[in-house]
Amino acid sequence: MAANVFPFRDARSAPDPVLEAGPVAHGLLPVPLVLDNGSFQVRAGWACPGQDPGPEPRLQFRAVCARGRGGARGGSGPQVGNALGSLEPLRWMLRSPFDRNVPVNLELQELLLDYSFQHLGVSSQGCVDHPIVLTEAVCNPLYSRQMMSELLFECYGIPKVAYGIDSLFSFYHNKPKNSMCSGLIISSGYQCTHVLPILEGRLDAKNCKRINLGGSQAAGYLQRLLQLKYPGHLAAITLSRMEEILHEHSYIAEDYVEELHKWRCPDYYENNVHKMQLPFSSKLLGSTLTSEEKQERRQQQLRRLQELNARRREEKLQLDQERLDRLLYVQELLEDGQMDQFHKALIELNMDSPEELQSYIQKLSSAVEQAKQKILQAEVNLEVDVVDSKPELKKPLETQSFTIISIPGEFEGVSQRPTTQCQAQYTRDAETPDLEQLEPSLEDVESMNDFDPLFSEETPGVEKPVTTVQPVFNLAAYHQLFVGTERIRAPEIIFQPSLIGEEQAGIAETLQYILDRYPKDVQETLVQNVFLTGGNTMYPGMKARMEKELLEMRPFQSSFQVQLASNPVLDAWYGARDWALDHLDDNEVWITRKEYEEKGGEYLKEHRASNIYVPIRLPKQASRSSDAQASSKGSAAGGGGAGEQA
């Protein structure tokens, strides 16, 4: 039982130190800053020239910020990234500049950049005096690039900037230098997955495709699955823990259907289920009564309710009886021939004719009869009810609707009455973790007892001698999340988006769609160089799965090559750094401040790792004023003079 039990690490991030730039940042030419601006993490560092390419990026932090604890206190202001420590307590206050994979809230982006510059040790006054290499989304909307350029040039006074696509940087980092490659990049990130064909060293942008699923959707799916399976642990199933499960306990099945078949087998299940141990929380087991006491209490409540009901019935019966008597009396009046009184009485009773009176009398008398019957029956059933009724009166479940688990073999002798209590307990549990467990347990009566503790505290068996052992088991196993098929289901959504109801096609089908747009020879070259990158491709079994999918879609006996990035998470940063060092002197690829002012923020200079630039001029946004408190009226003139600021 102790096999496969894993605790949650619940790691907290340590706040980053403010690093000194050191000799790195000071050289003849200002050293470029490389920022891989991702929706999951921002990675920032210097691109130091010289032989030693340098270590990993100095800063890696989650791209989120939140106001300090306890609402908007005036002092500390919003905290960013690693300074937040653990993300969970602040989960609802976390804000990210990203909407999907595009930065839309530039104010938060500004905070992230402030944090990066500050902690990297940027020391220049009045402006950040280093060229910046920044990653952007594939086919970044022009508006977003305009905003970003504005932020960089106007606020930080950067001399020049270059935008690139993270997956392309990663691709070039993994290929021999300066080779003109063609290939297919499959880049799966936090928010979306791209399939990018590269032809002759240049991105073929019109044939790119993006699937709007990534690590965050997988984490959300896993969270919902576990929360629905364990409704008692709703609060303990947090997104951070889900990410931990995804990173460490999930894998991608090479053949999904076959893998599922394997999971049906109880031995495989036992060996491969990962039981995640939640920290103990005492608030769920509310009462400390033993099961007998609880049973007693339930019976008492039942009795009380029944008595109440009986009393009410009797009262109603009495009232009805009285009314019936009165009506009968009125009817007698009619028979006796006292018409005046009869009519008066009729009017009092609000009735029109003797026939109506008659029918009313009939109805009432039948009601009285039924009431009497019920009272009689209730008294008889009192005994039986106490035994049969369900403990939790609030639950909307009917005792009669329970079905018996058809247990092969062992339980043939047991009676099949639905009201047998021990049976009812096993079937009644709404919080039972796993049905797959029931399958293996069915073959063994002993293990059936073992699974008792998994049930909620309301249903321990009363008639079984196991009762005494239960409290010991209950706690540890109750706090475990059994992650079985979820290990393969959550990462599978990028291959089968229909699992979460997305209409888009999965990676394999999108890949085929893209390949079909090319002539056969180009397809061949592309398929020789399939490259996987991005954090969401780091599941064990990803490469094998991609190879299998390619095998299925390519013609018989054709060849293909799948390569995984050497470091799918950080390669984008390394690639960008290499690129920056290669192109330090090259003016063809950097967007300078002057060009920004002339051609607008959405201007892009193409290079081998950039988007395709479509020369559409965006109207300049509503003008800014240099004084933050200026009224809205005086700002029109400010727009033209925007360039002269700072």
């Binding site: 403010v18 005036g74 002092g75 500390s76 909407d99 595009v102 839309v104 809230n105 530039l106 500050q118 040790g121 020391s123 220049s124 006054q125 009045g126 594939v138 086919c139 022009l142 508006y143 504005e150 932020l151 930080y156 942008a205 019109k206 790119c208 993006r210 709007n212 699955l225 929360q227 629905l228 409704p231 259907v257 599922l260 329970f402 079905t403 058809s406 709404a430 039972t432 049905l435 029931l438 079985g484 098929t485 089968q496 988006p497 699992l499 109801g501 997305e502 888009q504 096609a505 999965g506 999108t510 769609y513 479509v614 559409i616 965006l618 509503a622 800014r624 240099s626 933050a628 809205s632």
Partner: protein, 137 residues
């Protein structure tokens, strides 16, 4: 090294006492910068918030794109042509059956009994996960 010293002073001052962040602007920034995308003082009371991605894309669509230009919405993956495989909501195995009452999919008898005993919020939860909640009450 003056600049370095000043930079070092700034972070230590952050940690002492509740100082207003606005009072200690970072040295490398322009302190008077106002985003143009954000309404702020500019557009008055109307345009306070940032555009979200949907709004940005909507305005991008209106630009004069040529037919073959790549842009953010043209590279959205197409919907799938293949019929989706049905998996059990509870266990993830291949589901051959659907419960007519709750529309949940299941693969074994035990799962069926489990499904029939679920509270209604869990049932709606599973359906919402598949985006199969029906609008008709």
């Amino acid at each position: 090294m003056e600049a370095m010293n000043e930079n070092k002073v700034v972070p230590s001052e952050f940690s002492t006492g509740p100082v207003e962040k606005a009072a200690k602007p970072l040295p490398f920034k322009d302190p008077n910068f106002v985003h143009s995308g954000h309404g702020g003082a500019v557009a008055g009371k109307k345009n306070r918030t940032w555009k979200n991605l949907k709004q940005i894309l909507a305005s991008e669509r209106a630009l004069p794109w040529q037919l073959n230009d790549p842009n953010y919405f043209s590279i959205d993956a197409p919907p799938s042509f293949k019929p989706a495989k049905k998996y059990s909501d509870v266990s993830g195995l291949l589901a051959n059956y659907t419960d007519p009452q709750s529309k949940l999919r299941f693969s074994t008898i035990e799962e069926f009994s489990y499904i029939r005993r679920l509270p209604s919020d869990v049932v709606t939860g599973y359906l919402a996960l598949r985006k199969a909640t029906s609008i008709v009450p």
